[in-house]
């Protein structure tokens, strides 16, 4: 378990907290020339998790990539978490990952065995997902990062975008929040080992189980809750769907330790960026402690799926999810567009 190099010391940002803000990114991509192709059914104009291109009547290709600097000192665990996070976007589209490429930047100070362990973590995650890593690209740099470019497949009629939520839907979330705050607390040397073991294990858990269960139900919309936090991703879903998402603050699962750390000011930069981005669309309808709001804006690395499906199906789906993922929870519901895109209730 012990490693020589303190991997996280090589990184200035932790995990998905390193993600560029959603607002900045949208502005940056404005006005570029692109070909239009009717077979590209989900492109970057949709701010979705991945792009989807129809290949034939019964097959569409999903493509996505994700990488970030070390979030944990154990190189194997870091590799596994980074790969799990990258694979997640395919699950969020309702698909199954099939092929992947490594994207690795190694710092000069890293030993070969450390790099090998990172990759071993990535291969184990891909293996568990049923995907094959076919190659990749590795460079040397000052600040390391690792992730995957992933291709997956889905039936064109079964694509789950983040813009399909409808009034009457119920919202489910499959992993507790607070991961960004807790990794920040770990960087500060304040989070206990046993707590962090739980967090790292959660981050290294694929959303495969959640996806495999979800696709058996008439799900309208899905996204994975990652760098933009619960409210950032909910905001995208609300805007894309033209609905209001009602989030019931006391139903949202989170790691209880995160509340204390947020209260102490161990809130990652990303949470502030997410707040700047989503807050204009959020109406807080009851008294919520600032620390709990921080948790809702907290960037998640390899977070869970946010699923919108009709109320009639939600109960059975949640019961099925909870059999394998006890922390899965119903966190709110969807209505016609009201005075705000998101209402925290």
């Amino acid at each position: 378990m012990e490693t020589q190099v303190k991997l996280t010391k090589l990184a200035t940002c932790a995990g998905c907290g390193a993600k560029m803000g959603a607002g900045t990114l949208t502005k940056m991509l404005e006005g570029f020339k692109t070909h239009s192709d009717p077979r590209l059914i989900v492109g970057y104009d949709k701010s979705d998790d991945a792009s989807v291109y129809v290949l034939s009547e019964d097959q569409a290709l999903i493509q996505t990539t994700d990488f970030f600097p070390p979030i944990v000192d154990d190189p194997y665990l870091y590799g596994k978490i980074a790969a799990t996070n990258a694979l997640s976007d395919v699950y969020a589209m309702g698909g199954e990952p099939k092929l992947a490429l490594n994207i690795l930047c190694a710092a000069e100070s890293m030993e070969d065995k450390t790099i090998r362990e990172i990759l071993r973590g990535g291969y184990d995650a891909a293996y568990e997902a049923g995907a094959i890593i076919t190659g990749g690209h590795t460079i040397k740099g000052t600040e390391p990062f690792y992730g995957l470019a992933v291709s997956g497949f889905v039936h064109p009629d079964k694509v789950l975008t983040n813009s399909g939520a409808r009034p009457g839907d119920v919202l489910l979330l499959t992993k507790p929040l607070g991961v960004g705050i807790l990794t920040t607390a770990a960087k500060a040397g304040m989070a206990e080992g046993a707590v962090m073991d739980r967090i790292y294990r959660q981050m290294a858990t694929l959303n495969k189980t959640a996806r495999d269960i979800m696709v058996q139900y008439p799900v309208h919309s899905c996204t994975d809750v990652t760098g933009f936090g619960l409210l950032g991703h909910s905001y995208e879903m609300a805007q894309g769907s033209g609905c209001t998402l009602h989030i019931q603050a006391d139903q949202v699962p989170y790691h209880p330790e995160a509340l204390e750390f947020a209260d102490m000011g161990l809130v990652p930069d990303g949470a502030y960026r997410n707040r700047d981005y989503a807050q204009p669309g959020v109406r807080v309808c009851r008294e919520i402690p600032l620390a709990l709001e921080d948790i809702f804006y907290d960037p998640q690395t390899s977070g869970g799926l946010l699923i919108a499906l009709p109320a009639e199906a939600a109960e059975a789906c949640l019961a099925e999810l909870q059999k394998q993922i006890p922390q899965a929870a119903r966190i709110g519901y969807v209505t016609e567009l009201q005075d705000a895109a998101i209402k925290l209730e």
Binding site: A185, A188, R198, V267
Partner: protein, 203 residues
């Protein structure tokens, strides 16, 4: 006494870490000034100050220069931490459960396995949950992939129960990478936790 610490150029969470350290060395009535270079650090420091019950003010001097000034108060005046009642804590302080085998009692191992599964399940149904569960020797199997008690233990963990498995035991049984719930511990921590417990339950 007044003290100023310069945290410019430091990435989150270092300004808070340094402010915490500095504040612990100061007395009630002392003033701590923290220099930082970004707005996020200001907000985090103000969260820290209000967590400690300190009065603080943040000021922007220029685009890259901000100050947060906090007046240190005595330890007793910190804001109460029980203000948030969203998660009710059902753990009983000092209650420790030791699972020293993957079976319960002496006799037929098949029965012992079924009893242990029922014991862990029953544990999840108690009004007051233990603080900590320690697993050692063949008890290590309980926290690993393939364990029939895994879901119950995960549920307990999600309720805030600390679950720890002996690392030596995991290595002995070749289970190190199979752990699926809780953390890994060593004999020192096992001894310390047992010493600190007010109540030890052994099925």
């Amino acid at each position: 006494m007044e003290r100023t610490i310069d945290c410019r150029g430091m990435a989150c969470p270092l300004p808070v870490v340094n402010a915490k350290k500095a504040s612990e060395e100061l007395q009630a009535g002392d003033i701590l000034t923290v220099l930082v270079d970004n707005e996020v650090a200001v907000q985090n420091l103000q969260r820290f100050a209000s967590h400690k019950g300190y009065v603080s003010t943040g000021e922007k001097k220029s685009e890259t220069e901000y100050t947060v000034v906090m007046t240190i108060t005595g330890a007793g005046t910190a804001a109460p931490e029980e203000a948030i009642a969203c998660h009710q804590d059902t753990r009983r302080k000092g209650m420790l459960v030791v699972l020293s085998a993957n079976t319960m009692g002496n006799g037929d191992p098949k029965l012992g396995t079924a009893l242990m599964k029922a014991f862990v399940f029953a544990l999840t149904k108690q009004d007051q949950l233990p603080d900590t569960i320690l697993c050692y020797n063949s008890g290590a199997y309980l926290t690993c992939e393939g364990s029939e008690s895994l879901e119950d233990l995960q549920l307990l963990e999600s309720e805030g129960v600390t679950i720890l498995t002996c690392g030596t035991c995991l290595d002995f049984y070749g289970l190190r990478e199979k752990v699926a719930v809780g953390g890994v511990t060593n004999m020192y921590e096992i001894v310390e936790r047992m010493e600190a417990a007010s109540q030890i339950i052994r099925p």
